[in-house]
């Protein structure tokens, strides 16, 4: 059973990681904590669901479309909300508040669109195969989630470190004024950063909906706070850190159940987050950013 719980924790953690990577990208490059990422996650899952259920699209196509929808939606938020706010010299606080507002609008729209119903991807969206070895069960869907997550993590890392866009994003994360002076088109890089972040969130949304048989307008809610935790524990701006922290969170949740204090899992996660903030605010892998006055 312990082995199975380990697998459960890693799978849950890898979905957190996909979600938190997108979060972290925007926070690192733009210094924006985009709470609406949770709503983008939900909307992508809804788009994927409707494409399969209503239009009968094959899963890979629907997944691609849902991921693109997540990216575009996030890009739209940047263009309509965050850019005007930046141009008017908004503070870190006002961007966070604006993203809370956007999130409320999008979740309310999702509630109306879905009539507050809980849905699921149709049976047989992915083959219902289950492997079992060493008392560990793994479904085909779970395997797809693991492989996709791993591939995406590597892809994101390569994109950030091996491409011109990645370089531009990292330069902006270092200092936006420097990026401008180096001739980087910061506005367009910002748009693509948001696209990428939304696409990661969207991917997480569809995979999660598929794996747990749930598509629901509130499904993004628990991920926002856990995403915060992953960023803080992993360390501001570190891809590896966020992935490690996400899996730690997944495991902590699962093992709180194993040792019989499952009801307190939120206390444990946020307690961990709190302790890190107080005693190691740069997280596990964070560079020595200026987080203290």
């Amino acid at each position: 059973m312990l082995l199975q719980q380990l697998v459960n924790g890693i799978i849950a953690g890898s979905v957190y990681a996909l979600f938190a990577l997108g979060f972290n990208l925007v926070l690192g490059a733009m210094n924006i904590l985009n709470v609406a990422q949770g709503a983008v996650f939900t909307w992508s899952a809804l788009v994927g669901f409707y494409l399969i259920k209503v239009y009968g699209l094959p899963f890979p196509l629907a997944l691609l479309a849902a991921v693109a929808a997540g990216g575009l939606l996030n890009m739209l938020i940047e263009v309509l909300v965050f850019r005007p706010l930046r141009n008017r010299g908004g503070s870190a606080m006002s961007t966070l508040v604006a993203s809370i507002g956007v999130s409320m609008i999008l979740i309310s729209a999702a509630q109306t669109a879905s009539d507050a119903q809980v849905e699921r991807f149709p049976f047989g969206t992915l083959p219902e195969i289950q492997w079992s070895a060493l008392s560990v069960r793994l479904t085909f869907t779970q395997a797809v989630v693991l492989v996709t997550t791993l591939a995406t993590m590597i892809g994101t890392y390569l994109l950030l470190h091996r491409t011109r866009l990645g370089k531009a994003i990292r330069t902006m994360a270092f200092n936006e004024r420097t990026a401008k002076m180096l001739g980087i088109p910061t506005e367009s890089v910002a748009r693509w950063t948001f696209f990428l972040s939304g696409a990661l969130g969207g991917l997480a949304g569809v995979l999660l909906g598929l794996m747990f048989s749930t598509v629901h307008f509130l499904m993004g809610e628990p991920y926002v706070l856990k995403g915060f935790a992953a960023i803080v524990i992993g360390g501001f701006g570190s891809v590896i850190g966020v992935i490690v922290a996400s899996i730690m969170i997944g495991l902590a949740e699962v093992f709180s159940t194993v040792i019989g204090v499952g009801a307190f899992r939120d206390v444990i996660i946020f307690g961990m987050l709190f302790m890190f903030l107080l005693f190691r605010p740069n997280g596990l892998f964070g560079k020595d950013e200026e987080v203290r006055p």
């Binding site: 199975q4 719980q5 507050a116 049976f123 069960r137 499904m219 628990p222 499952g262 939120d266």
Partner: protein, 393 residues
């Protein structure tokens, strides 16, 4: 007014509805009260959660209650008197629930209140109704303790505890159950009360409860850790005490975690098309009690379901029915009282009497300790996703 407009707009439909309403009214066998001399518009306050987190339930209640008010008025059930609903939205929030109760009682001077949607709002609002001395019939809250609020507060539904316990008594010998496990939603008082109650019921029947796990609410849908822990204890039956939206995913994930043959037992939240759609074949072997279902053979229920389908073009659910039943209960009480006077309505509620409902196997029922009594149905879900009555074999 609404009825009038509807009649003008859709004369044919309205006429047929009126005919149905007469059928329902004719079937009533309540002791007739003294008919009042002059026509009276009796204002009934109807607080519901029409927006916010439980709006999905409140809006369904409102639809069916509109239907019930139309039926009461167009059938002439109260003679020349009419019931005039005063709708109010508590926004699924406690303080707003208290606020609208005060407004209905003091500003609108309603003769009685029928409604409320969510248990936590009942807990906050019903003491206020008691204090302001408004006869009140709550018709959807199932949290324990509402029967003890005071002499003005009556309950048109009852907590599921007794139904679930009855089902356990039937199911354990029929299926030779030896071990059981419980998974319940931590954030909802209905389920935190039900979890220890069902554990006791299992133990009373000689069943060993091998695991109890809590899940959180909101958007959380990953129950794999809890279900892996439970699957490890190999229970014969799993009690799933969560809201409807979570029941389906729990069933699917339980089967996946290795509980292929485990039976499921639950309460009202099992009774929805959503659960069967989301769980699919995984729901096979699920058992639950219900005080109502759409195909219940009671003639009164058949007429109601027909009228609801005609008006809204779909099947009513439990929330709708609880609301509908509440309005007809208050109509019967008002008829006994013979007027909209609060004191007379209270006296009518307090005097013993038999009421016609669409609930339970019997339909006819009465209040005991200010709470409606009823005999539940028991159901099981088959491998084909179809529901069948479970008679204890």
């Amino acid at each position: 007014m609404t009825t009038l407009l509807n009649r003008v707009a859709r004369p044919v439909k309205a006429a047929s509805r009126q005919a149905q309403a007469l059928v329902i009214a004719g079937a009533l066998t309540v002791v007739a009260g003294a008919p009042s001399a002059s026509a009276e518009d009796i204002k009934i306050g109807v607080p519901l959660s029409l927006s916010g987190s439980v709006a999905f339930a409140g809006t369904k209640m409102r639809e069916a209650m509109e239907l019930a008010f139309e039926e009461v008025n167009s059938s002439g059930y109260l003679g020349a008197n009419k019931l005039v609903p005063v709708w109010a939205d508590d926004r699924s929030s406690q303080p707003q629930g208290i606020s609208v109760t005060q407004q209905l009682a003091l500003r609108d001077n309603v003769s009685a209140i029928v409604g409320y949607t969510a248990s936590n709002i009942c807990l906050a609002s019903l003491p206020v109704a008691q204090e302001l001395k408004v006869p009140t019939l709550q018709s959807d809250c199932v949290v324990p303790g509402l029967d003890a609020i005071g002499n003005y507060v009556y309950n048109g539904v009852r907590p599921y505890e007794s139904f679930v316990l009855e089902l356990v008594d039937k199911l354990v010998p029929a299926k030779q159950i030896k071990t059981a496990a419980v998974i319940y939603l931590r954030e909802n008082p209905v389920f935190t009360r039900l979890a220890p109650a069902i554990t006791k019921a299992f133990e009373k029947n000689g069943v060993k409860v091998v695991a109890t796990e809590a899940v959180t609410g909101g958007g959380d849908a990953d129950f794999s850790a809890q279900l892996t822990a439970i699957a490890n204890t190999k229970p014969d039956i799993l009690a799933i005490l969560t809201l409807g939206g979570q029941v389906g995913p729990v069933m699917v994930q339980a089967r996946r975690a290795g509980m292929e043959k485990t039976l499921f037992i639950g309460e009202q939240s099992f009774d929805s098309a959503d659960v069967r759609r989301i769980a699919g074949p995984n729901a096979a072997g699920a058992y639950y009690p219900s005080h109502w279902f759409a195909d219940s053979p009671l003639p009164r229920n058949q007429a109601y379901v027909k009228a609801y389908r005609a008006k809204y073009n779909r099947d009513p659910d439990t929330f709708a029915t609880n609301g509908y039943n509440g309005v007809w209960l208050i109509a019967q009480i008002v008829k006994k009282a013979g007027s909209g006077d609060r004191a007379k309505i209270l006296a009518a509620m307090e005097s013993p009497g038999v009421y016609e409902t669409v609930f339970g196997t019997e339909g006819k029922t009465k209040f005991e300790n200010r709470m409606l009594t009823m005999t539940p149905f028991f159901f099981t879900i088959g491998a084909d996703g179809k529901i069948a009555r479970f008679e204890g074999k």
